[in-house]
Amino acid sequence: MEILSWILTIATIVAIYSIMGLALNVHFGYTNLPNFGIAGFFAVGAYASAILTAPHRFREMEIFAGFPGGVAGRIEAPFIVGLLAAIVLAGVVGLIIGIPLLRLREDYLAVASIGIAQTIYYVAVNELWLTTGSAGIRLIPMPTGNRYLYFLLVLLLLAIAYWVVNRFYSTPIGRVWRGVREDEVITASLGKSIFRSRMSAWIAGCSIMGAAGCLWAHYSMAIQPGEFVPTTTFLVWIFVIVGGLRNNKGILLGAILIMGFFEQGTRFLPAIGAPYIMPAIRLIIIGVLLVVFVRFRPQGVLPERHKKIEAHIR
């Protein structure tokens, strides 16, 4: 029974990270927007849902412990409201951030988006009235009450995200995105606005990341700013690159390989020395793997499948 529970834990985490990987595919794989601020949008979604759905009891406990009671726990909304709020708020934050960012060349965008994620992290640490600071928000309800059912819910949302992202590949807007990726000048000469198509891809991806954040908050039932550090972003990038950029099946495969085995699979190995050594070794292996993959197999395990033109025309 314990082993089943452990597999369930891994599977849920892998599924939530896969949703983020699919969102990164919309950003980087389809539209060539290197988003290194995934952790920020993940945090926006997680905090939006956690603040809305935290029970009154959490706020009472905070006040009892001597903290000023914040926004969290005032509303006690149902899960679906939290999920919608996470999606909408991450999209709105993406829109606001996208205005200065999306005019930039790709490498500037990458650096600036790291700054965005760090800014969101600092807000989460310091705005006590909103996020209760580094203590985090606890007692977030799990909507199904049962981890098995919750895993099914996550799988359902993963399936929806997969379907949506896969549809984007061949819908008109998705084709414009890929046109922007391949050649901006030609796309602009066909009358498409580069900025607007980049913005639509950016908002779509950010909203999906927000949904993943909401699922994470309700799964772990307690969130704190330390979970939304750049390492989260880098993990998503690494499994997307290893699994196969621009191929949604490859992203699922990469999530299972990297997140499943390296992040969770070493859990039962004997710990060497201090408790921080094992995670550090894992991250070193992941970093080396990234360098090796980009050097020798840049298209990933499963490369992009080019559809024939007839498949688009129909």
């Binding site: 290197p34 900025f195 970093g287 360098v291």
Partner: protein
């Protein structure tokens, strides 16, 4: 003569504008001393090799920890430890370039691919440091000194030496770029790599020297950051985006701009710490970066005009 200054708390805005200005000058200069040299090094690396190296922050960390190793474990004086750390960090940089980046640059991959690779390299360096020293913060073993008033400034002797080293090294790098053969080679390679190659410049050698200089400057920056604060494995990663903010404010491939950008960013950060809120001082550097990217992406020394229309009319623009 006690004029009531010594007992005042740091960052108190109630004391009146004069004292706050004094704090701003002192701490702004100190932050400038930590930021200027690494941002100059990063600027040279980007200028010559043409990609954004995200491992640079972790090279700064490595420089600080190598100096820490010399200073704490081998009981060497901090000045000599700094020199040894510069040499070792430069070696590390050359090693990284030869092992990882050289082959990729010869394969003509895009700057974005190199950026992603440098991310992985940074992850490896950071975690090797973490395994070696653990997550707890360290401090250098330096003799205790008392701060003195020097006109409007309030510094310890160590800090005065840091600021002097920073200014002298920066001037040295500028003179090197302008008047020496190596500086001319670096500028030529930066302007047009293929033309330089045709004219008989060994580009590989220029890259190697650039890495030596950039990583040496990173080591100095890391040690200065450690002298002012604490040394921990995440310090370089935290400083990285601030360094990019300095570069973008001054114009990304302009060495003078990098130092001026560091000055502006440092004072913006300390002003935020004094008048708004200390935790948000890094955020103010980021916001400055976004503002410059929005109105003048080539930096304050760039030739283009300020584009105010992006600020207001973004919804109408079709491009």
């Amino acid at each position: 003569m006690n004029r009531g200054r010594k007992t005042r708390p740091r960052h108190s805005s109630q004391d009146g504008v004069y004292f706050a200005m004094e704090d701003l000058l002192s701490y702004g200069l100190l932050t400038f001393a930590t930021l200027a040299l690494p941002s100059l090094g990063l600027c040279l690396a980007i200028k010559v090799t043409k990609y954004f190296n995200l491992a640079y922050g972790d090279i700064v960390t490595a420089g600080a920890f190598l100096a820490l190793l010399m200073n704490l474990s081998f009981k060497i004086n901090i000045g000599i430890a700094l020199l040894i750390s510069i040499a070792l960090t430069a070696l590390l940089g050359v090693f990284l370039h030869k092992v990882v980046f050289k082959a990729l640059m010869e394969a003509k991959v895009g700057p974005l691919t190199l950026l992603v690779v440098s991310l992985g390299v940074g992850l490896v360096i950071r975690n090797v440091v973490l395994i070696g020293w653990g997550p707890q913060p360290y401090q250098f073993n330096t003799p205790l000194t008392r701060a003195k008033h020097l006109g409007p400034f309030f510094f310890t002797p160590n800090q005065i030496v840091m600021i002097l080293i920073c200014i002298l090294v920066a001037i040295g790098i500028f003179l090197m770029l302008r008047y020496t053969q190596l500086g001319r080679l670096m500028r030529a390679t930066s302007d047009n790599p293929s033309l330089s190659l045709i004219r008989g410049i060994s580009i590989e050698k220029v890259y190697t020297y650039t890495w030596i200089i950039a990583c040496g400057l990173a080591a100095i920056g890391g040690v200065f950051m450690g002298m002012l604060g604490t040394i921990k494995p995440g310090m370089g990663e935290e400083a990285l985006v601030t360094l990019f903010a300095c570069l973008i404010v001054g114009g990304i491939e302009n060495p003078y701009g990098a130092v001026v950008g560091a000055l502006i960013t440092a004072f913006a950060m300390e002003a935020t710490a004094i008048w708004i809120s200390p935790p948000y001082k890094v955020v103010s550097a980021y916001l400055l970066m976004f503002f410059i990217l929005l109105i003048k992406p080539s930096g304050i020394f760039g030739r283009e005009k300020i584009q105010w229309k992006y600020f207001l009319g973004f919804l109408r623009s079709r491009q």
